[in-house]
């Protein structure tokens, strides 16, 4: 009996001809159910859908469970595990050396809000083009679950220890300091995080996303304020976030009264359907005030808190050449003999 050869349909590809498999990384070694794995999946989906070439992405991280996660997505992108809390310096160097790279930084609440705080604040105030994600679980998972600086007042450890220090709100800090796209999401909110990541890819400047990402081993119990259950009960989205990339020629009517549309640097459109009537994500002062109110009320506010696609990035401010410094020929990067002679003469 003759057999009919069955042909496997070719994998679905994105606008640059790559399949979603081309955006995958190694197999995760994080705990089953860890929020970080869900974030990795969202990054893969967002990069795939936006058609970002993996070779143009530089993944950067510090130390911690979060910082291990770049191994689990985008295996065709260069990646660098920096020293604990020092990823911003490495990222700044990488972006300045090659401005055509898309920097994707993955940090944790410990890596950012304690040991890395000094570097974090200077990264935010520079508006370096980078997507900086904090995978925020409120504890140090790799060292057996001690509270981090983002743990909420009154949150309880498995051992019964209560946190009696107020949390650092990394979003309020980032807005105050000068980051130009700031939001908070939840690893369990697939739709919101996905839209925010796609908008982040279209933004030019510092994107700071604090993503609450429960630690199933050390911080997912009754009394924790960073557990799946707590987030499901207390998540207060400011908006319904959606994103229309520049390459999708879709015209959808929207009601300016109920929806804020922000045109991103590349012409993409970020749409925020207001769930709070008077919230304006382009008003820095109000954003900070609203975040402070959320602390008073015990809400976990999520959504895009602040966006400003028009602010000059650090690369713009430095006025560096369009061609990446890393690829400039020696004839261009080495000043002429007369330049050195002039400098020497001035020092006589």
């Amino acid at each position: 009996m003759a057999t009919t050869p069955t042909s496997t349909p070719p994998p679905k590809t994105n606008r640059i001809g790559l399949a979603v498999m081309d955006y995958r990384g190694g197999k995760t070694t994080l705990c089953a159910g860890c929020g970080h794995n869900a974030i990795s999946e969202r990054i893969i989906d967002a990069m795939y859908e936006m058609g970002v070439k993996p070779e143009r992405v530089a993944k950067l991280s510090g130390i911690g469970c979060s910082s291990k996660s770049p191994a689990y997505f985008m295996g065709r992108s260069h990646s660098f595990n920096a020293v604990h809390g020092r990823m911003p310096s490495v990222a700044t160097g990488a972006v300045l050396a090659n401005r055509s790279l898309m920097a994707l930084g993955v940090s944790g609440d410990g890596d950012t809000a304690s040991i890395g705080m000094g570097q974090f604040v200077h990264l935010m105030r520079r508006n370096l083009p980078i997507i900086y994600i904090i995978e925020d679980n409120g504890v140090y998972g790799l060292t057996k679950g001690q509270f981090s600086a983002t743990a909420d007042l009154g949150s309880k450890l498995k051992t019964g220890v209560i946190n009696d220090l107020p949390p650092v709100d990394t979003c309020a800090m980032a807005i105050t300091l000068g980051a130009t796209f700031v939001g908070r999401s939840f690893s369990g909110d697939k739709r919101q995080l996905h839209a925010m990541l796609k908008a982040a890819i279209a933004h030019r400047g510092t994107v700071m996303l604090d993503v609450v990402s429960p630690c199933v081993t050390f911080n997912d119990h009754e009394g924790s304020t960073k557990s799946y259950k707590y987030m499901k009960d207390h998540d207060e989205p400011l908006q319904e976030v959606s994103f229309v990339p520049v390459f999708e020629d879709i015209t959808v009517e929207y009601d300016p009264g109920s929806t804020v549309e922000v045109t991103m640097h590349d012409g993409s459109r970020l749409r925020l359907r207001k769930l709070e009537e008077d919230y304006d994500p382009t008003d820095r002062i109000k954003a900070i005030t609203r975040l402070n109110e959320a602390h008073e009320k015990g809400e976990v506010l999520t959504g895009v808190f602040y966006v400003n696609p028009k602010a000059p990035s650090f690369v713009d401010l430095l006025n560096i050449t369009e061609q990446p410094l890393a690829t400039l020929p020696e004839s261009v990067v080495r000043p002429g003999r007369e330049v050195l002679e002039q400098v020497m003469e001035e020092l006589r």
Partner: protein, 239 residues
Amino acid sequence: MAQDAFELAEQFQTLVFVMSDLDLGMNNWMADPFKYPEKPIKRGKVLGKEDLDRLGGFARYKDVDGDGIPYRTLPGTDHPGAAWFARGSGHNEKGQYSERPDDYERNMERINRKFETSRSFVPRPEIVANGKSKVGIIAYGTSHWAIVESRDQLRKECNIETDYLRLRAYPFTREVHDFVKQHDRVYVVEQNRDAQMLSLLKLDVEASLITRLRSIAHIHGLPMDARSVTDELMTMEGK
């Protein structure tokens, strides 16, 4: 020196520390005008897209030619096989996560080979020797001019002829080992309490030569003067 430091960093794919001290860093010093660099910048073993097309790929930490220095690619290289992961944990030659003891050992041995290779590339010491002195002095940094003057004092005041090696780099080059071998007593003059350079030399020279090394450590926080070196060396020489 800055150019040398950057080139060594690129060639050996490692950090290079340029040592200074308080005297050098905070006081004004005269220097000869810098010479214009004529040679091309050395970037070390970097593979580009064309190389990867030809080779079909590469292993980031594989020592292909025995010097301990593997090939690398730069971020942004437009080839699907160009990426590598600079990870903080144990890894194999391809940069993949590994907890295998043989992978770890192979990497440690490779780094050791790289360290040994670097001895032939770092700046060599400056040596002033007459071939007859039994006493040698090793110093570095701003101790230099005090040593120049101290050697004159030692010659004039107690007829001690000394040879002098001014260190310019660590790891130590072959010349440093030879210098210790060629002298009965070697005084290591340095400006720190714990005689740190002497300790590094003790780890590096043959065991039989360790007893030749002596310490003159200067720790009062002021620029080193010749007299204090001369007096201490004379005392230790029994003069």
